[in-house]
């Protein structure tokens, strides 16, 4: 017993130790991942974010330096606070609270004292900086905008949020990332790839040399330059025309599907979301829930398209062979649905396709529409055929653009009506409004522009897109260079285009002719309602216009949608014609029209429903 005592204790202790070590090293083993290891500091080397140019090579977005004033609290020596605050343009209380925050974060590590000084402030501060020990200036790169337009397209970059961090291990808290627009869509191209250096540090957080001699370190990869399809001049001009108006404008180059302009009103200067005032400005924009400047109406708003939709109904009817261009319908200053009469503003009389389009006759299209579904034994089948034709124009579904957001619009199917009214509880009279683009159909300005481009191309379109090329290589996603054919045969387009041409020559758009350019267009005047305090009110009609030009060789197809702009040619038509002239001719000949459009605002219209008083709509006075 006495001889074995020590031996057995040695063996027992040996097993105890091995047991404990198995628990620590096998059971509780948590390998130091390079990201979580407290002994390895990652220093990132951020490449410059890629520049963005327009279709003509004009710079739209670049970078600018900004200067953060940093402090290492431990090294900060007593200083002339008053002078320092004056240089930094902050007050003393703010300075003291920032210093306290920095110290609480870490006395040894640098904190931002004042973020993003401008170049001018920096210049003044730079030479005096040496008086302030423990403070230094760190250069950062911010976005610089060479235009005050296209905020909705370009988007903005901001700090990554929880969600980004969870979904993408690339990002580290505090980094910047594109959150809207092309900054979001082409984030990976624009940002490049950050380089990383691994630094071994000790428990006081001091660097003691590279980790594994820098074997795991990487070099930064430059962000790519990209060219987008926008025409900077056209975009800027469009935004000036949108001044004081709400709505959306989209212009597309029909032969490529490239988006030439994408305007949402009201909008904001993209530079507002950069620099020291960013968060203040962002709140202001974000909380404006009445005019919603951050809501991109050009791709998100989905009003009823109104009369431009009639052109598609004409095409479908021709394709289905239920009418020919000379088929006539009588307009009784309206048409009858059962025993109720619905109005028409065309002036009445007998209409064929040509005058039906250019006078925008409701009765003609109601008749046409009835013939389309009348061809089939049941309304259900007719609806199916009609829906299929409409969807081939990119309506009633997402277009598949390279924009990070969008709305699908709506082409009502029979399922839609079954849901709304109950199975078989609806009849053709319920859907007759679709013939004139009112009722249940809805489309975004982008979809309207695309539809117009398809007409301009006589039967096909390219998926609208915003990326023209990356760097100097032309390679973009091949899906944007594949034509998408509509279900309408080529020969049916000419009569409709003829009608659209006459809109300008004789019809609803004759006030907006441009000398020397043949335009095909279609006006739209869209009834709309709003619910305020539970009361349904009708507001002044939306003004809608679609057009393409020149007819022979279309260079531009566009849709203009102006909220409460009254009849189609009043605002939308004029703005469309100015944009076409600007794009095709490069200059404006009708200076007085231009002046009127630039100056006129619709603020008084938008104020009406909020005034709390009874108001009139559709007033003729300018």
């Amino acid at each position: 017993m006495k001889k074995l005592l020590l031996s057995s204790i040695i063996v027992i202790i040996g097993f105890t130790f091995i047991g404990r070590l198995s628990y620590l090293q096998l059971f509780r083993f948590s390998p130091d991942q390079i990201l979580e290891d407290p002994a390895i500091k990652k220093i990132y080397d951020y490449p410059e974010r890629g520049y963005v140019y327009d279709r003509n090579g004009e710079l739209m977005v670049g970078n600018q330096p900004a200067y953060d004033v940093m402090v290492i609290p431990r090294e900060a020596k007593p200083l002339d606070t008053l002078e320092f605050c004056k240089l930094l343009k902050i007050d003393k209380a703010h300075f003291i609270s920032q210093m306290r925050k920095a110290r609480r974060y870490s006395p040894r590590l640098p904190s931002v004292l004042v973020p993003q000084l401008s170049k001018e402030d920096y210049a003044g501060l730079q030479e005096k900086m040496r008086h302030f020990e423990g403070f230094y200036i760190q250069k950062r790169s911010l976005r610089y905008y060479n235009t005050n337009s296209a905020a909705n397209v370009l988007g903005y970059i901001s700090e990554v949020n929880e969600h980004d961090l969870q979904n993408n291990p690339y990002y580290v808290a505090g980094e910047l990332k594109g959150h809207t627009g092309i900054e979001k869509q082409y984030e990976e191209l624009l940002r490049g790839r950050k380089g990383v250096k691994h630094i071994q540090k000790d428990r006081f957080n001091r660097d003691i040399g590279p980790y594994k001699d820098g074997k795991l370190d990487t070099l930064p990869e430059q962000g790519k330059e990209i060219h987008i399809t926008l025409d900077k001049t056209l975009q800027e001009y469009g935004e000036r025309l949108m001044h004081g108006k709400r709505g959306g404008i989209v212009a597309i180059e029909p032969k490529s599907g490239e988006i030439l302009a994408m305007i949402s009103g009201p909008t904001y200067d993209p530079a507002l979301l950069v620099g020291r005032e960013r968060s203040k400005n962002y709140s202001k924009l974000h909380y404006d829930t009445i005019s919603k400047p951050t809501w991109d109406r050009s791709i998100l708003a989905q009003p009823s398209p109104g009369s431009p939709f009639k052109t598609l109904n004409a095409l479908v009817a021709l394709q289905e062979g239920v009418i020919d261009p000379s088929t006539k319908f009588r307009c009784y200053n309206g048409f009858y649905v059962g025993s109720t009469k619905r109005g028409c503003h065309c002036g009445g009389g007998v209409r064929d396709m040509n005058s039906g389009i250019y006078q925008s006759c409701n009765a003609y299209f109601a008749g046409t529409f009835r013939k389309i579904y009348g061809k089939y034994p049941t309304t259900d089948e007719g609806m199916d055929v009609w829906e299929k034709h409409m969807k081939s124009f990119g309506l009633g579904g997402y277009l598949g653009t390279d924009l990070p957001t969008g709305s699908p619009g709506r082409i009502p199917s029979k399922a839609y009506y079954d849901r709304a009214y109950g199975d078989n509880r609806w009849a053709s009279s319920f859907i007759i409004s679709n013939s004139i683009g009112q009722g249940e159909v809805a489309a975004t300005p982008l979809q309207l522009a695309n539809m117009t481009a398809a007409i301009a191309n006589r039967g096909y379109f390219y998926t609208p897109h915003i990326l023209k090329n990356i760097g100097n290589t032309g390679a973009i996603d091949p899906k944007f260079t594949e034509p998408r054919y509509t279900t309408i045969d080529r020969e049916h387009f000419e009569p409709v285009i003829k009608g659209m041409e006459n809109v300008y020559k004789y019809g609803t758009g004759r006030w907006v002719q441009i000398p020397g350019i043949n335009i095909a267009g279609k006006t739209g005047t869209v009834e709309n309602f709003v619910r305020i305090d539970g009361e349904r009110m009708q507001l002044t009609d939306h003004s809608v216009f679609v057009a393409f030009a020149p007819i022979e060789n279309p260079k531009i197809a566009l849709a203009v949608y102006i909220e409460n702009g009254y009849y189609g040619s009043r605002y939308a038509g004029h703005i469309a014609s100015l944009l076409i002239e600007k794009y095709v001719k490069g200059e404006i000949t009708r200076k007085d029209l231009e002046k009127r459009m630039l100056e006129k605002t619709l603020e008084h219209e938008y104020a009406k429903p909020y005034s709390g008083e009874p108001f009139k709509i559709n007033e003729y006075v300018w």
Binding site: I9, I10, F17, Q25, F29, K201, D202, R203, I208
Partner: protein, 427 residues
């Protein structure tokens, strides 16, 4: 005497294990203290360079010890002991204070720690006293003399303060037990420790209930023929209960907060998880960091010189007391188990050698050597892997430090020298 010389008679297995431990110990010191790989390993401005120098000194010590006549150690054991005691007392007058403990003499090029010498001297003196033909281990008086030899240096070292080194001397009880010191002393000691810890963990009431249950069990399962002495049992129970009752008082009034914190951490007395975590990261900071380093090593370890926490100096005192954590991080489970196994084999080999001595003095001294080395190993690794509270003593042959390496070496080689002579002068 056989015809073979010293080289033929010395135990090469022990020497091999010793050399191996010193070698991997140095590798780990190199890893923990390396700051600039371009500096030569012989640069004495670095700690690993210095340690290499100490290893050289230890080698000189080995030669010295092996060339001395065996009988010298037995003959002069008392003198060594008295000299060591004098040196320990001298510390109160001439001692140099390092890190709050007055444990060193300043010898210019390095600091000399007499408590290391005292370990060797006490082991020798104890063996000498017990092996004396006059001494009877069953005699109470002789028992108390033996205890005095052990406890005198421990008491002198305690106020330095160096409770860790004091604790070491208690390991010499193993020598006493080996030589026939009644084992129930050990039983009483174990009962005291268990009662102390369990009272702190569960409270006196549960101890009482536990003892009650124990008595019921004893009476239920005893054989009919066995008579339980009733009176001593009652005395034992009452004493235990009184002791248990006094624990709370001692804990609250005699111990200081830092001691209480260590117990709170060790026995997980703090029930509030948040507070426990806080204690773990403040009072238990060293252990927390060393456990983390060991954990992160996993099965295979991160590789030699690749331990990020070792390089980052996250574990304080890693080159000295916490050297084992570097083994854990860089060599993984394989490395730590290998070290445990080598130490265990080393100790068992020494016991084997001690038991084959014909000379009582050699055997007793051998047990002294094993006890001292083992208690260092046990307390040190127990602390580093978080099983025992923080007590700062080095890991033999591993930890950085000249005094400890040289005296551990001499401690061991005196025994090997004695062993090499076992056939010559067995009485």
């Amino acid at each position: 005497m056989s015809g073979r010389g010293l080289f033929g008679r010395i135990d090469w297995l022990t020497i091999f294990l010793y050399a191996f431990l010193v070698f991997i110990g140095w590798l780990n010191i190199y890893s923990t203290t390396l700051s600039n790989p371009d500096v030569s390993i012989l640069d004495f401005s670095t700690l690993y360079g210095k340690q290499l120098f100490f290893i050289g000194l230890a080698f000189v010590g080995i030669i010295l010890v092996l060339s001395i006549e065996s009988s010298f150690f037995e003959r002069f054991a008392s003198i060594f002991y008295i000299a060591a005691i004098v040196l320990l007392i001298g510390l109160f007058l001439f001692g140099k204070t390092v890190a709050g403990a007055t444990s060193w003499y300043d010898l210019g090029f390095f600091n000399f720690q007499p408590s290391e010498l005292a370990k060797v001297a006490t082991a020798l003196a104890l063996a000498k006293y017990l092996s004396d033909i006059q001494t009877d281990i069953k005699n109470r008086k002789h028992q108390s003399y033996a205890l005095l030899i052990i406890l005198l240096p421990a008491i002198l070292i305690l106020p330095q303060p160096d409770p860790g080194s004091s604790l070491i001397y208690f390991s010499l009880f193993f020598v006493l037990f080996r030589e026939g010191f009644p084992l129930y002393y050990l039983g009483v000691l174990v009962v005291i420790v268990v009662l102390f810890a369990t009272t702190l963990m569960f409270g006196t009431v549960w101890i009482g209930i536990g003892l009650g249950v124990l008595i019921v069990l004893i009476f239920t399962f005893k054989r009919k023929s066995v008579k339980i002495p009733i009176l001593p049992l009652i005395v034992a129970i009452v004493t235990s209960m009184l002791f248990s009752l006094s624990v709370g008082f001692v804990y609250d009034n005699v111990f200081e907060q830092r001691h209480r914190n260590r117990f709170a951490l060790w026995l997980r007395l703090e029930k509030d998880e948040k507070k426990l975590e806080e204690i773990r990261k403040t009072i238990g900071y060293n252990t927390y960091q060393s456990e983390k380093a060991i954990e992160s090593g996993g099965f295979f370890g991160k590789g030699f010189l690749e331990g990020t926490r070792t390089k980052g100096d996250f574990v304080p005192e890693q080159h000295s007391d916490y050297i084992f954590s570097s083994v854990g991080e860089e060599w993984g489970f394989l490395g730590t188990v290998a070290v445990i196994l080598i130490f265990s084999v080393f100790f068992l080999r020494l016991i084997f050698i001690a038991e084959r001595q014909k000379n009582d003095f050699s055997r007793m001294y051998g047990y002294g050597v094993i006890s001292i080395l083992f208690i260092h190993y046990f307390v040190n690794i127990g602390m580093v892997i978080g099983l025992l509270p923080t007590i700062g003593i080095p890991l033999p042959f591993f930890s950085y430090g000249g005094s400890s390496l040289i005296f551990f070496t001499m401690l061991l080689f005196i025994f090997l020298k004695l062993d090499s002579n076992r056939l010559k002068d067995g009485i």
